[in-house]
Symmetry: C2
Subunit: 386 residues, 2 copies
């Protein structure tokens, strides 16, 4: 397998965008990455389109990628629709990278798109509930906040993390989101505001949860030569890994540990080498567990990390400088590629006001999706180097 | 890219199987291919699960593969849900082949599953209509029979193919299906019966159309060493190609010509080398056009082929010895892999009563899906050699 590089990256503004369609998101992001990458769009060899919920929200199933790429002008090449819940576009990225790394083609397009707002909250929640087994978890009526709440409480009991620490994650991510023009929420919040906001599933309060969202993101993956030719800092995909739930034993490392271990091995680095990360903070407390599971600190030590400022924008290892899911928003099928975009922008010093102080050479993306058999159904971890 | 081989193949009986679920189909076919391939299931490196309509029919979106593979015992590895209308499992096959051919892993699983019968015909038809752009073709209310009818009439006017010739395709495929224990329809029909059956969309009569169906199919793709070790005739994937609609000009070769041309080139063969084919006869007349587009004969010559018996089971180039979509049935997301299974069985002399006389060395699968911008949305062509 040869090295594959991220060329252009793009995301729309995330938010409640009732007047925008999946086609709008595809058009904007795909043409952005074509222009930025300085390639001929006819050279794109394959396209992977990730989406989780259009079947429920808009009714479009089965040929979503073909339908949205039609007006973009992408056709004739293989167009592959992938679904993997909130990790759908990480899956598209993973496959696009493999298509280039294997030499199957020189230029691959990855797109992630989602509409969740549709004027009917019940429908949006019904869509989200299809990311677990509808015959098992679905019938139990457990939504994501409930699942996370059980995990958070178990972790609190074991390691003593505090509600204040969880709230600080939300404060940090809203601080970052306030500087991100793509973010859904651009307001800052305080620890007190987070703790006093409406309780959703104890100890998770409203301001600790990520919003639903609409939006799109895209990336072009190409060869080293293309990356050098586009005139920006080349960003190499050092590894891109995907893994699934696995009936993990009580004392066994969970899915994020498993997948990230493989990602570190393939990239030839250790967690200590990571200088910036975008992780799947669907609820704020989870960002702390993820820091532990990704090896940024030991088990139970993530509370100290947020207390000591390590993961803040001016810290040693900024986590979610984009604002994360909490503030940037979470249009499920677009999230993974938006995370990739943020790391690339930070590496190319294109992150504007939220640019982290020391331009990173090594960045990590962690993106999770769904819930099956009591565990996240799918996790993608991508390591980029520049 | 190294050579990849088809190891075990499996399909369920196709039909109206109201008491069976997608999970049942996955369990049966995946364990069949594991046993047949003589591999350790823990060595499976990646799984691709194709399905088109579960979102509409059962309500399960987003993590369909994880949900059906949970009880099969396949987990932890990357599980990727792919959708490409009636070519969903061809897409799974294409990706599984590339995963092995690229050296990414040694053993890849491709699964295709569909439930279309659900006790509510309106719902089933609504599901099928999501394989075009629901905002364009969908709003026009055109179902597949209508789209095919326009193509068939244009072709009739240009080349003079007759209704009798179309009917003969249905007769041939029902003859083959009668010998196939997996087939949905096992009754023989006559030319008169076909022509006198209910008119669906002139000139397409009821017995020229394929039925809806439920069912599953699977294949394991592995290395040459694995293929040799399993003790059956090794079947090499000489090429696996996928292509999309493309605003094809009036006098330009269509999508099937484009994709098959690439498949022949990659396999290093010509249409003359093909000794058996499974093609996407969603309606019987289309099998004739496909023979032309695949280069089995010249434009307008396919009527003579069926008249002269070339494509019958004892002919020089048997087409759809399984019974094709017309008789074997068409559970959309399972069809591509069922077509692959038939070619493999014919190559291994495992096709029972419908075994063609001269055991083939070169076989071709053509599988289409959806309709976008007036053309089949996606076509997969796979060439197998033994």
């Amino acid at each position: 397998m040869r090295d594959a590089y991220v060329l252009g990256v793009s995301m729309t503004k995330f938010g409640k965008l009732l007047d925008k369609t999946l086609k709008d998101f595809a058009y904007e992001t795909v043409w952005n990455v074509i222009r930025e990458s300085k390639i001929d769009p006819h050279d794109i060899g394959i396209a992977f389109v990730g989406n989780a919920y259009a079947g429920v929200i808009t009714g479009q199933e089965s040929v979503r990628g073909q339908v949205v790429l039609r007006d973009v002008g992408i056709n004739r090449i293989p167009i592959i629709n992938v679904e993997n819940a909130c990790a759908s576009s990480s899956t598209a990225f993973y496959l696009a990278r493999n298509a280039v790394a294997s030499g199957q083609c020189d230029l691959a397009l990855a797109v992630g798109l989602e509409k969740l707002f549709c004027g009917d909250l019940g429908k949006s929640l019904a869509a989200l509930s299809t990311s677990s087994d509808i015959e098992i978890e679905g019938r139990m009526g457990i939504l994501f906040a409930g699942i996370y709440s059980m995990r958070v409480r178990a972790h609190m009991e074991k390691y003593g993390l505090t509600r204040q620490q969880f709230a600080k994650v939300a404060v940090k991510n809203h601080d970052n989101g306030a500087l991100n023009p793509h973010a859904q929420y651009r307001n800052r919040v305080t620890v007190d505001e987070v703790l006093n906001s409406r309780m959703i599933a104890d100890p998770i309060t409203l301001l600790m949860t990520c919003p639903m969202g609409d939006g799109g993101a895209a990336a072009l993956i190409g060869t080293k030569e293309m990356a050098e030719r586009m005139g920006k800092r080349p960003v190499r995909i050092a590894s891109s890994t995907l893994g699934s739930f696995g009936f993990t034993g009580k004392d066994e490392p969970g899915i994020v540990c498993r997948v990230s271990k493989q990602a570190y091995q393939e990239a030839g680095i250790t967690p200590k080498d990571v200088q910036v990360a975008e992780v799947h903070d669907a609820v704020a407390p989870v960002e702390l567990f993820l820091c532990e599971e990704l090896g940024f600190c030991g088990p139970g030590e993530s509370g100290r990390m947020i207390d000591e400022g390590v993961t803040w924008r001016d810290g040693k290892l900024p986590v979610n400088p984009s604002g994360g899911l909490s503030a940037k928003g979470h249009p499920a099928g677009a999230t993974g590629l938006a995370q990739v975009a943020e790391i690339v922008w930070q590496m190319r010093e294109e992150a504007g006001e939220r640019q982290i102080r020391s331009v990173p050479h090594v960045g990590l993306v962690e993106n999770g999706g769904g819930n099956v058999a009591g565990e996240t159904a799918v996790v993608g971890v991508h390591i980029l180097t520049a």
